[in-house]
Structure formats: C-alpha cells, structure tokens
C-alpha cells in the first residue's frame, strides 16, 4: 500500500498516508443489517399505537360495559343495540354528512373557481397571504368570530335588514337550517383557503407547455382549464379533498362553541355526540360504542379512499 508518490519514490514517509495504520474489516451481521430499518421506525410506530391501538382496544372493551363512576357493569351488546335504536345517534350521523357534505362541496367549488382566476396571475401571487388569513386563526377563535356575527352581535341580521332582505332579527340558533348555515359558513370561511392554496400550487407546478400547446390549438382558457389543467391535477385534488373531508367529518370545535347541537340536536355531529355522551352525561360505555362505530367507518374510509388518494398523489 504505497502512498501517493509524486516525487519518485522518496516520499514514503508516514504522514503521507491517508489511511489509519491498522485496518480491521467490520463485518456487520446480516441480522442487524436487516433489523436496522425496523429499529428506526419502531419508536414512532409504538408511540402511534399508543394513541390508536390502545385507545381503540380500550374503547371496544369499554363499549361492552355500563360505566357508573368507578363501577363497570358488563352489558354485552346492549350499548350497540341501544345505539342502533337511538334517534339522536342517527340524527348526528345525518347531520355530520349533511353539514360536512355541503361545506366540503361549497369549499371545493369556491376554491376551484378562485384558483382558476388566480393561478396565472402574478399580481395575486404576491397577495396570496391575504387569502390565507382565515386559516391562520385558531379554530376556536374563528368560532367566536361567527358566534358574535351570527348570534350575539346580530351583525348578519342587521346587514340583511339593511339590504332589505328581512325584517327584525333572525334567530340563527332557533332554526335548523339557519343553525347549520352558521356552521357551514364558519367552516367555509376558514378552510376554503386550504383548498385554494393547494389547487393553485398544483396548477402552477404543471408543465406550462401543455397549456401553451392547447392555446395554439385555439382553445379558450376555460376550455383549457376544464379539459387539460384540471385532469392533470386530479391526484392532488383527491389528496386535498380527502384531507379536508377527514377534518370536516370530525367537526367538533365549531359545534361546541357555536351551537352546542341546538336546535334540538339538529346540528350535533358524531364527534359532539360522543363528547356529550361521555363527558356531559358520563355515559362512557355508550359513548365508547359510538366511538367504535366511528372507528370502523374511519378504517373503512382509510382503506377505500385515503389509501387510493395517496397512492395516486404520491410521486
């Protein structure tokens, strides 16, 4: 192992060696080599099992009991049977789908329309942050903004009156669809920007040449957008809508602050139903049964929808 020898053989001195003197070949055991990636990922997985598998199992277990303070009375499937016949539970399911479905649709349509107008506009790019502002508020704060606007401050009523649309004040908590509208407006106001910024980013990261080619073919911008740009970003749309859908179908904070389920449980979501059964009527076993139902739905949705959305959105 001669060292670099530029001077013709004289410079064999030790300092010229770029290798430590003694060389032992480390041989890593194949077992360790194979185990290593698992060791890296294990802490995160174990931690997550701690808040999914453990509580999930706990909820399943608890759902077979009637919990009275510290006393647990086994009741078999009674909680589930009761749940199946509980009009409030089914109403909460329906409310969640109605409110969530409408809000999600409205958000998608608005975000897509805004994205269509914004994504080729350099001026808007600089002002993008203005469109994001609602997203930067804590959801609990946003709920209070709309609570004040709709109910306590009667601002919306006043504005509608000034426009000559109504007389007197609207009671936003007294009417089923008005109450649901407050939840929908609050969600749309805060989260349309989420979809908007993702759609714009996706549209802007597309290959511009495709659009340019279509323009040379004589297509109008709306036609290009509808026929070319949108289909190209479909995987991204799927991911964004799925993520938004998850949050919307688990809506809690707005219900808790804005309506508390009024009127008559017609704005109660599943999340709020579980919370109310658990922490207001302290009917933990029953609440757990509802949670298990929601868990099953979540797992199905994860397998059927989310997995596919992320597979196709993956690069």
């Amino acid at each position: 192992m001669a060292a670099i020898d530029q001077t013709g053989g004289a410079a064999q001195a030790a300092p010229d060696r770029a290798r430590p003197r003694e060389k032992t070949l480390r041989r890593r055991s194949p077992a360790l080599r194979r185990a290593f990636p698992y060791l890296l990922v294990a802490p995160a997985v174990i931690y997550l099992l701690g808040i999914t598998l453990y509580p999930g199992a706990y909820a399943v277990y608890q759902s077979f009991y009637l919990v009275r303070f510290t006393e647990w009375i086994p009741v078999g499937f009674d909680n589930y049977v009761e749940l199946a016949g509980d009009a409030e539970f089914w109403q909460a399911m329906l409310n969640t789908l109605l409110i969530g479905g409408i809000a999600l649709t409205v958000e998608c349509v608005i975000a897509m329309a805004l994205a269509f107008f914004a994504y080729r506009d350099a001026l808007i790019r600089g002002w993008r942050i203005a469109f994001l502002m609602p997203m930067l508020f804590m959801p609990s704060a946003v709920a209070f903004i709309w609570k004040l606007a709709f109910n306590d401050g009667r601002v919306i009523s006043d504005l509608l009156r000034k426009l000559g649309l109504i007389e007197g004040n609207l009671d936003f908590l007294g009417n089923i669809w008005l109450a649901r509208t407050t939840l929908i407006v609050a969600d749309v106001w805060q989260w349309t920007p989420f979809l908007f910024i993702i759609f714009v980013a996706a549209l802007q990261s597309q290959d511009q040449e495709v659009e340019e080619a279509a323009r040379l073919d004589g297509a109008s911008w709306p036609a290009i957008f509808w026929n070319i740009s949108l289909p190209m970003i479909r995987p991204v749309i799927a991911v964004a809508v799925v993520l938004r859908g998850i949050d919307i179908m688990t809506m809690f904070t707005n219900v808790f602050i804005l309506t508390k389920g009024t009127p008559g449980g017609m704005t109660e979501t599943i999340s709020y139903f579980i919370y109310r059964q658990g922490f207001q009527t302290f009917n933990f076993g029953y609440a757990s049964a509802a949670a298990v139902v929601m868990l099953v739905i979540t797992i199905l949705a994860a397998q059927l929808v989310v997995k596919r959305a992320f597979k196709s959105g993956k690069t």
Binding site: W189, V239, Y275, M294
Partner: protein
C-alpha cells in the same frame, strides 16, 4: 399580457371582481374582530350592532387583571414546542427508514402512520382521558405535549419523508463509501439536505398543536394547562355572557406568531399541508 387580455374567457374585470370580493370576505371579519379587541364591552353586544368603534383598552385591563393570560401563553408555548421536539425525534428516523431502506412491510407501516391522521380525536378521547387520569397527568402541560406529538406525528413523518425522497440516493452511497455509518449519514448528510422539509413539518405541526381543541378541553381544567385555544372558550363572565373583546385580543396574540411562521414557510406551505403530495 396585452395579448392575453383579448383572449376569450379571460376577462380581467371579472377576475379581479371575483378574487377581490373573496379577499374582502376573508379580511373584513378579521379587521372587524380586531377592532372588537379595542372596544368597550358595552358596545359589543347590543340590540343593533354599533359599527363605528369607540377606542378602549378595557379588554387589556380585564385580561391582565382577571385572567392569567401569561400562564395560557406559557402553556401553549411549552406544550407546542415540546410536542414538535418529540415529533422530530421520533419522526426523522421513521421517515428515514421509510425512504432509504427496502424491507418487508415498509409500505404498510408507512400507510399505518398516515392513517393515524384520520383518527378523529373524539374516537380516542375517552380512553386517552382515562389513560392520563390513571397516570396522574390530567391538567398538565406534559400530557398536552404527549398528545399533540401523537396527533401530529403522522404529518411530520410524511412531510419529511416527501423531502427525503427528493434527496438523490447517490448522496448517501457516496457518504457510505467515504466511510460514514447509517446514523452519521442521517445526521450529517440527510438532515441538512432536507432541512426545509423539517422546518415545514415543524411549522405545520406547531400550528396544528396551537389550534388543538378537543383533547386540551378534556385534559386541561385550570390555568396549569389551559392553552390559548381552550382558554378562549372560558372567557365568559357568568351573567355577563361571552367576553368578546378579551377573546379577540387573545385570538390575535395567537394569530401573530402563526402568521410569522406561515410567511417563513410560504413556499413550502401547500406541500406541507398535503403531507408532501403536492410539490408547489
């Protein structure tokens, strides 16, 4: 630009009308709510709204006198930063494992981690509540830290994973032939190379942690653990009803750091929000 203006379906007036009205719809409630923070309580809840504000520092006096606002602030800061640190410690090696090695079950593990993002807080709320009660951790910032970390871990792993996928494998091979071991490669090569992703993940996790409501509502019961997000809901003065001017102020106290964080990662925002699915 001049040519575009003439093209069909590309009406500038319509464009700015639509975008402008939405921007107004976004901003007006914020400005209005900000003004609430500087008005006397008597002007806020009235039979008909009073639009023209009278300036008052009522809310400030009230907050500082009656509410332990600095405790809330401290709790939020501690719980959020603590949770982000936990997420990074657990999440970076996990993301590394998911991107740089091939092994059986890798994709399933990755998907399992992703799927925890879908878990509604309400599903696990009761067991978590009992768990922390049994551990004697109720009403502690430490419990919040642990739960925020768990809630955001999937996001952190997937965002960082997405950035790690962008690092050429050659870089790691080079380091390996240069004599570096796995952990040193992670520390000296991979982490510096995906720093933007790590920052993005941290910011997004921090914002979600600041916002967290349901778990905090269950775990916190006094100023020992109340965070800003949940403290808001307690600004009700018995017969006085909701104390909106105090709420408005606290909202803005939380809003400002989030604004700064978002501006910091603006370029990476959409990628972060989609857990790496969009490269924008």
């Amino acid at each position: 630009m001049a040519k575009r203006r003439k093209s069909k379906g590309d009406n500038l007036v319509l464009r700015y009308l639509v975008l402008g009205s939405w921007a107004l719809f976004c901003l007006v409630p914020i400005v209005w709510f900000l003004s609430i923070g500087f008005r006397p309580r008597t002007e806020i809840i009235t039979p008909t709204p009073i639009y023209w504000p009278t300036f008052s520092l009522d809310a400030w006096r009230l907050l500082l006198a009656d509410w332990p606002i600095f405790d809330y602030l401290r709790n939020s800061v501690l719980a959020v930063t603590g949770s982000v640190v936990i997420d990074l410690i657990l999440g970076i090696p996990a993301a590394y494992s998911l991107t740089r090695y091939e092994y059986r079950g890798r994709d399933d593990i990755g998907f399992y981690i992703l799927s925890t993002r879908m878990m509604a807080p309400a599903i696990v709320a009761i067991p978590i509540f009992f768990l922390f009660r049994n551990l004697g951790l109720l009403d502690s910032v430490f419990a919040l830290m642990l739960i925020y970390a768990a809630v955001n871990l999937s996001i952190v792993v997937w965002i960082i994973r997405s950035y790690m996928l962008d690092i050429p494998k050659e870089l790691e091979d080079a380091a390996r032939t240069d004599g570096a071991g796995d952990l040193r490669i992670l520390w000296e090569i991979i982490i510096p190379a995906c720093l933007p992703g790590i920052i993005t993940a941290s910011v997004i996790a921090a914002i979600f942690a600041i916002n967290e409501f349901l778990f905090t509502l269950l775990i916190a019961s006094t100023k020992n653990a109340y965070t800003m997000s949940v403290a808001l809901a307690n600004f009700t003065g018995g017969s006085d009803g909701v104390i909106y001017n105090a709420i408005a102020l606290v909202s803005f106290l939380a809003f400002l750091p989030i604004l700064v964080l978002i501006v910091l990662i603006q370029k990476h925002l959409s990628r972060g929000l989609t857990m790496g699915a969009v490269k924008g």
